[in-house]
């Protein structure tokens, strides 16, 4: 029989307690147990980066963690990047705005992992060069954009954050 365990995980600031099968990946837990479907699954073997989340503030591939390993930890997903707002036209996070303004997404499937990865980058390195951005996102596959608008959006977001005196 399936081995179960009770875990409590704080996701986007909200604590969730669930009984989960111990072999369930963190990605599946977020998507199917918490129905936070913004985190996407693209390869399930740790290469594509679409499932990247922030674990205690640092990026991790959620397909390469078990949900039980997140017990007692804090996780941020794409749904938590901008504060929830019933107004659909409310401003998003400066990085999200920069993505839209620079056409840094097409199908948008890799976007959640790109955003979480770049948020960590901008926290570690608020004014990256374009080469540094390319290396930072080298673990995130995108088949649509050819990456250059993502690089442009990241540099743009860095400028916006600096101008606003805001941390990512």
């Amino acid at each position: 029989m399936a081995e179960m365990r009770k875990i409590t995980v704080t996701v986007n600031g909200q604590a969730h307690t669930r009984e989960v099968e111990t072999r369930m990946t963190l990605a599946d837990f977020l998507r199917h147990e918490l129905t936070l479907t913004g985190t996407h699954i693209g390869c399930e073997h740790g290469v594509c980066g679409a499932c990247t989340i922030l674990l205690d503030g640092r990026t991790a591939r959620s397909c390469l963690m078990l949900a039980v390993q997140a017990d007692g930890h804090a996780i941020d997903t794409i749904e938590g990047i901008a504060p929830p707002n019933p107004d659909k036209n409310a401003p998003m996070h400066p990085l999200q705005e920069a993505f839209r303004d620079n056409h840094a997404l097409q199908c948008g499937f890799c976007t959640p992992g790109m955003l979480t990865t770049i948020i960590e980058l901008l926290r570690d390195n608020p004014e990256p060069t374009s080469d540094e951005v390319r290396i930072a996102i080298s673990g995130n596959l995108c088949r649509c954009t050819g990456y250059q608008t993502i690089v442009a959006a990241t540099l743009d977001a860095a400028r916006r954050l600096k101008a606003e005196g805001r941390k990512p």
Binding site: E3, T25, E44, H45, G46, L55, M65, L66, E120
Partner: protein, 288 residues
């Protein structure tokens, strides 16, 4: 691509982990998960028990003691990358770490996990091989030390008993100002190397090579220490010509073929990267 069924254990001490290792049927240790989790997803490994080391206290540290850099087995690659101590004392390790995967994988991946997975193209494995590292393993009868040259037994097979686990690594330090270079050729940024070379150099006051360490990764089923190359170098005045001659010896290594490279190409890269790494290492030597 979902992990197969298994029982999950998360011991809090090394002793508990070792006890579980010795008593459970078909167990597998889970460190950073960057290699094991894909293998579970592909069902290449089907363990009955997964023993998660992440809740064990005291296995993540970087410190200098007795002329060596000591690193705990569960130390994350990220922490090695950002360690001032590593950068100052063992720049080869730092240079190697920068080639390991990507930010997300280094945040989770551990040095102990990589060493035990023992991919012959793995950067940390090669640095340990070049550095004459000492692996500390814990078993039912306490700890023992394994010189890294004796650690790889065969392709992805470390010299660990079934009831033993790696708990730490000691990297003997080279004198301040030594030359070093980690160089790899990978198809894409962050990939495992097709071939990688790690070099350490120490010169004497007269400019001759006093000591050299040359290791190759990705070429063969296990990482290689190139004793013949080192022998050719020691006692000689460093020069491009010497490096070229010595590096050419690498063409004779017994190499493997896979989807990325043929035997001949790996041998060729071994010679090219060794020469380049020697040149770069020499350029970095700070003479007293």
């Amino acid at each position: 691509m979902k992990p197969p069924p298994f029982s999950y254990h998360d011991p809090r001490t090394v002793a508990d982990a070792v006890r579980l290792l010795g008593s459970l049927e078909n167990p597998k240790l889970l460190a950073g998960g960057q290699s094991l989790m894909p293998m579970l997803a592909m069902r290449f490994v089907l363990p009955d028990h997964v023993i998660d080391l992440n809740k064990i206290e005291g296995l993540a540290y970087i410190r200098e003691a007795n002329g060596a850099l000591e690193i705990g087995g569960m130390t994350r690659q990220r922490d090695i990358e950002f360690s001032d101590l590593v950068a100052a004392k063992h720049p080869l390790l730092r240079e190697g770490i920068l080639n390991v995967g990507h930010r997300q994988t280094r945040n989770r991946g551990t040095i102990g996990g990589s060493l035990c997975h023992l991919d012959p193209a793995a950067e940390q494995v090669l640095v340990c091989m070049a550095s004459d590292a000492i692996v500390t393993v814990a078993g039912p009868n306490g700890e023992r030390a394994i010189p890294f040259r004796e650690f790889p037994l065969a392709y992805m097979t470390p010299a660990l008993e079934p009831d033993e686990m790696l708990v730490g690594i000691k990297l003997p330090l080279w004198p301040a100002g030594h030359g070093y270079c980690f160089l790899e050729f990978a198809r894409r940024h962050g990939d495992f190397a097709v071939v990688s070379a790690a070099v350490l150099l120490e010169l004497d006051a007269g400019g001759k090579i006093k000591r050299a360490a040359v290791a190759l990764g990705g070429v063969a089923a296990v990482p290689l220490r190139m004793d013949e190359v080192e022998a050719r170098l020691v006692g000689q005045v460093a020069s491009e010509e010497l490096f070229r001659e010595a590096a050419e010896l690498c063409r004779a290594v017994e190499a493997i073929a896979d989807v990325h490279a043929t035997v001949e190409y790996r041998q060729h890269l071994a010679a090219v990267l060794t020469r380049r790494a020697l040149v770069q290492a020499l350029a970095r030597v700070r003479r007293a």
